[in-house]
């Protein structure tokens, strides 16, 4: 039997995460990485569509509180993530599959390890149910 390898889609804010790194280089080690201009720009539709397309988990990397370049994008996303988790539960998708990390990492060195941590949590949950 082939071991379960979870697919994690990572959306990250350009102003807090990996803006000093060579993106081409870093993206080689991160399979589904989507840098966005602000975590507030990540549409809830895109997150749901990631699950629909077969993602086992979605990780959002936003700036720390009070550090949003656009005033409050990260705060808006934080509220949205909580409501999305409640909606996902009703659809039979475990809320833990959507996670948000509010921190800062200009070099982007921590991104692969954060994804790895998420994958370990997802292995315990198993693959996402078929939609």
């Amino acid at each position: 039997m082939v071991a379960f390898e979870p697919k994690v889609v990572c959306f990250s804010c350009n102003f807090g995460w990996g803006f000093l790194c060579d993106k081409d280089d870093l993206s080689k080690s991160i399979k589904y990485w989507i840098p966005e201009i602000c975590s507030g720009k990540i549409d809830s539709r895109h997150i749901f569509q990631a699950f629909r397309a077969g993602a086992d988990g979605v990780l959002i990397l936003g700036c720390p509180e009070g550090h949003c370049h656009y005033q409050d994008g990260n705060y808006q996303t934080m509220k949205k993530v909580y409501l999305m988790q409640k909606v996902m539960k009703a659809f039979g998708i475990e809320p833990e599959r959507l996670s948000m990390n509010m921190s800062r990492d200009p070099e982007g060195k921590n991104i692969p390890s954060l994804i790895q941590e998420m994958k370990e949590r997802l292995i315990k949950l198993g693959p996402i149910k078929k939609m």
Binding site: D43, S44, R45, I47, F48, Q49, F51, R52, E65, Q76, M78, K79, K80, Y82, L83, M84, K86, V87, M88, K89, A90, F91, I93, M131
Partner: protein
């Protein structure tokens, strides 16, 4: 005398509210019957399905189909009418998006059967009988349609030409739709025959809407005495107008009831649920992070509320093929 175009009106998994809305055309229906022949309309006139089966393919000019598809009988009739019709109009929110019966997709067929035939307090079923598609009684086989695992939209099973959403669609849009099909003055195939704007654009309360809304928590309409002129959202009452298509004549809002989203998403939006979700959270102003959960928890049953009419059509729903957005 030239032959009049034939029109069939049929219900699948529907409540008959859509047919009622056609009846609400009142006297306008009389001149219509001068120019069309109604060949099927179970709620109003008695016709036999055999007559439809014996028709030639594409003999019916327009078929108005309301209701979602939940069992094999719905599927069979939808496929038969598709074959016999030139144009199929998905009529009402159930046919277009699954409608409120689509909320059943939040549970399973097994749970529904257990509740209806075993656990509900009014059920008396000592033998534990459940409906079967085939039952042998004295060597006679009785059959029932098969109850599907999920509720589906009409276009999951047949090719739909036009959509007219609404719960139910208002009479003015119905007569427009029928007239445009008969005159051939139609938008591209796959369009919804309603205006393209959002409810907020046409809402009579829009002029009283504050530029900034800082909602502390959401309240439900029945718990307050809502002001009849102020924007519902500004009062903290959930209204789904910002991402719902207009055309309904704001009939709910005019009687002081917020929009529930029956007209479905505006063009260029795939599934209205995520848009409602973003709207409601971004309008919420919470001072401290630890209060976010409490503020959002003030929305009772968010999935049921945000997907009230569109669960089977939604991104996370059971839809088998891709959701196309109308451009």
């Amino acid at each position: 005398m030239p032959k009049k175009p034939k029109v069939a009106i049929y219900w699948l998994g529907a409540c008959a509210g859509c047919d009622e809305s056609i009846v609400d055309l009142n006297e306008a229906i009389l001149p219509l019957t001068e120019v069309i022949d109604i060949v099927l309309w179970p709620i109003a006139i008695d016709f036999k399905y055999e007559e439809i089966r014996s028709m030639q393919d594409r003999e019916i000019a327009l078929c108005i189909l309301s209701g979602s598809v939940r069992n094999s009988d719905h599927q069979e009739m939808a496929e038969l009418l598709r074959k016999k019709s030139q144009t199929v109009l998905a009529f009402g929110s159930c046919a277009c998006f699954g409608g409120s019966p689509g909320l059943a997709n939040f549970t399973t067929k097994e749970d529904i059967f257990n509740w209806v035939y075993r656990d509900a307090p009014t059920v008396v079923n000592p033998n534990g009988s459940y409906p079967q598609t085939k039952t042998d009684i004295d060597s006679k086989i009785l059959t029932l349609p098969e109850f599907f695992e999920n509720v589906f939209t009409l276009d999951e099973f047949i090719d739909v030409d036009y959509y007219l959403p609404g719960c139910p669609p208002p009479p003015d849009l119905i007569s427009n739709a029928i007239n445009s099909v008969l005159s051939g003055d139609l938008p591209p195939k796959g369009s919804a025959l309603t205006p393209r704007k959002a409810i907020c654009d046409t809402c009579p309360r829009n002029k009283n809407k504050p530029t900034h809304m800082d909602i502390k928590k959401y309240i439900r309409i029945h718990t307050v005495d809502a002001d009849p002129d102020t924007c519902f959202l500004a009062q903290g009452i959930i209204c789904l107008g910002p991402a719902t298509r207009t055309g309904c004549g704001e009939s709910c809002i005019r009687v002081n009831v917020p929009c529930r989203g029956c007209f479905g998403p505006v063009p260029s939006v795939v599934g209205s649920g995520p848009k409602f979700l973003s709207t409601l959270t971004s309008l919420l102003l919470v001072e401290k992070d630890e209060d976010i959960e409490d503020a959002i928890d003030s929305i009772d049953d968010p999935a049921g509320y945000l997907y009230r009419f569109t669960q089977p059509y939604s991104i996370l729903g059971k839809r088998s093929h891709k959701i196309d957005m109308e451009d």
